[in-house]
């Protein structure tokens, strides 16, 4: 009986409606926050920050963004990479053209610009659904990447076509570019990710989230109880794109430091979609699990195949792709609610442990 609700009686609706009403969940989140904010910076090496931790945060945020659209509102999108590019290129244009703007605002405004682009590409969702919407967002993906490639303005006419983040500070501490300490870049990504995740959690459990899920579960019934389909879907596109745009801005400013538009191609879109599926459609915590899984799996597999078993790098890569595909099929067929659901089931078992009946 490690995890239980019994005995935790709520004496008011507001207590029952707190963000984490169950004591163990509160401790779980608090524990992770302590690890993330205190333990990790003390222990992690530069390799850890660059290969695991910062990309994990960036992808978690992007996954959360996509999950809002796909998992909560039921609108499919294959344009995540393109939207991340909007975030990254907006951050670049802002940072280079308005140098006095603090990096926090650079990132937030980049998110807002992406939200506007998201709304624009979300407009067709009133008329088209499912497969056709996927194709429309795919078109957005290709269009956006083509646009960033085509027009030199987006890269300040740099001949290489790549963008680089200038060194920027928060309270005198350098947080971007190769000159910044990885710990500082990690905190930048962590701060945005944690705050936005909490906001997302509040949104999805409130009226906005209920409207999204109603549209997802049965759009006709949703309209008949007074939910406006277009406004609700556009809110999902806006919020989702905001998150993805911020993730793109962080990808570029806190993680890679430099980028080309091709980094945000269709492969990235699919990768983020896989993180959503493996983590669990319609779950905030699942978004983190999915991102962790897909960031860690290749590292683990490479260590296993190349390090332990002595396979060639190429063979290992092929095996990795195969395993990846198998996992996606497994999750789609067996557990469409992903790791988050598995975690839930485990919690339900713990609730009655050690007496299973």
């Amino acid at each position: 009986m490690l995890y239980r609700e019994t005995g935790q009686f709520k004496t008011s609706y507001s207590a029952d409606q707190a963000i984490f009403p169950i004591f163990q969940d509160r401790m779980f989140i608090l524990g992770w926050l302590i690890v993330a904010f205190i333990a990790v910076p003390l222990m992690a090496s530069e390799y850890w920050f660059q290969i695991i931790l910062i990309p994990f945060l960036v992808f978690s945020l992007a996954t959360l963004g996509l999950n809002i659209l796909v998992g909560y509102c039921g609108q499919i999108s294959l344009g995540t990479g393109g939207f991340m590019a909007v975030g990254a290129f907006s951050a670049y244009k802002l940072a280079t053209n308005v140098p006095e703007l603090n990096i926090i605002f650079v990132i937030l405004i980049s998110g807002l610009i992406t939200a506007l682009v998201g709304i624009l590409f979300g407009l067709p969702s009133l008329r088209i659904k499912g497969f056709y919407l996927a194709v429309a967002t795919l078109a957005a993906q290709f269009f956006l990447i083509w646009m960033f490639n085509k027009f030199g303005w987006f890269v300040n006419y740099s001949p290489s076509g790549s963008i680089a983040i200038p060194p920027m500070e928060i309270f005198g501490v350098m947080v971007t570019s190769a000159k910044a300490d990885p710990v500082a870049r990690y905190y930048l990504a962590l701060g945005f990710t944690v705050v936005l995740a909490l906001l997302a959690k509040n949104l999805v459990r409130g009226p906005t989230g209920r409207a999204w899920m109603a549209i997802r579960d049965m759009d006709i019934a949703a309209e008949i109880i007074g939910i406006k389909p277009l406004a609700t879907k556009l809110k999902a596109f806006a919020v989702s794109s905001f998150f993805i745009g911020v993730a793109g801005a962080l990808y570029f400013s806190a993680w890679s430091g430099t980028a080309e538009s091709d980094a945000f191609d269709i492969n990235l879109s699919f990768n983020i979609l896989f993180m959503v599926i493996i983590g669990g459609l319609g779950s905030v915590v699942g978004s983190f699990m999915g991102a962790a899984f897909i960031v860690l799996l290749p590292i683990f597999l490479t260590n296993l195949f190349v390090g332990e078993l002595g396979f060639s790098a190429l063979t290992a890569k092929h095996l990795e792709i195969t395993i990846f595909g198998a996992l996606i099929i497994f999750f789609l067929a067996v557990e469409p609610h992903g790791l988050a659901r598995m975690w839930q089931v485990t919690k339900e078992k713990l609730r009655i442990w050690p007496f299973p009946h």
Partner: protein, 272 residues
């Protein structure tokens, strides 16, 4: 939900009037020139054999189908085409013949969706409200507690406390119908349209559902239009009955008048 002063008084005021409604799907004429009205405070039954056009009629009333001909006057206002979310705003709620709940959500959340139409309108207000809910402070938090109280009252009323947090997809059919009624009640409608609320229920469940419908009408003065095949239920519940057959109205009156009508008897026996 607030109880009205003089419950169970049908004033004679017309809440809804449909006039010469015709609706067809390609070649299929689902409704042919049907007229009737619903008085404020009454329980109005719509009956008829399968395919008579009953569900289509409800769909016309709440703006889900747009009739090719005819006029609909609701609360004194005549409208032509109306989206169903606008009808909801104006106080028309409904349940479906085949339960149309949000399967992935709990009972509580399903009922809470019924409160969404109480939200403020307008892009600016909606954006502000969304941000307030994201930080879950001040008015947003208070609003959630207020809505929750309303919904909890309905949960008590329908005796579904035990399934409050259960995902509705896991509930048996009878309970799903009850939750769907709850969601409609949460909208605090003036006109509640029920499409076969007792279909597929056992005797006990039917008894419960009848009780809820009567109480709702009695205590809260909600006007109700219901489609029902069980004649016993229709006799017990309704003030007036309209009978459709092949899309046409063949009778309209009190349950006793209607059940004595020769056309109705013929229609039900399959004589044409």
């Amino acid at each position: 939900m607030s109880a009205v002063e003089n419950p169970r008084q049908i004033s004679g005021e017309v809440l809804l009037n449909v006039e010469d409604i015709s609706l067809s799907f390609g070649g299929v004429k689902a409704i042919r020139g049907v007229s009737f009205n619903i008085l404020k405070g009454e329980i109005r039954a719509i009956i008829g054999p399968n395919g008579a056009g009953k569900t289509s009629m409800l769909n016309v009333i709440n703006g889900f189908y747009h009739p090719q001909e005819g006029k609909i006057t609701y609360k004194g206002e005549t409208r032509s085409k109306m989206r169903s979310h606008v009808a909801a705003k104006q106080g028309i709620a409904r349940t479906f013949q085949n339960v149309a709940l949000f399967k992935g959500m709990s009972t509580l959340d399903n009922l809470m969706t019924g409160r969404l139409l109480k939200q403020r309108e307008g892009i600016l207000q909606q954006t502000v409200d969304m941000l307030l809910h994201a930080v879950y402070l001040g008015p947003a938090k208070r609003q959630e507690v207020v809505e929750r109280k309303v919904v909890e009252e309905i949960i008590d009323f329908l005796e579904i406390e035990a399934i409050r947090k259960t995902p509705v997809g896991r509930l048996p059919y009878g309970l799903q119908k009850r939750v769907e009624l709850g969601r409609a009640i949460a909208m605090e409608p003036e006109l509640l349209l029920l499409d076969e609320p007792m279909a597929g229920m056992n005797l006990e469940e039917k008894g419960d559902m009848s009780r809820f419908i009567i109480d709702l009408n009695d205590q809260y003065g909600t006007t109700i239009a219901l489609i029902e095949h069980d004649m016993g239920v229709v006799m017990d519940l309704s003030d007036r009955v309209v009978v459709l057959n092949y899309g046409e109205k063949i009778a309209d009156g009190t349950p006793n008048e209607v059940s004595a009508n020769q056309d109705v008897i013929d229609a039900y026996l399959g004589v044409s």
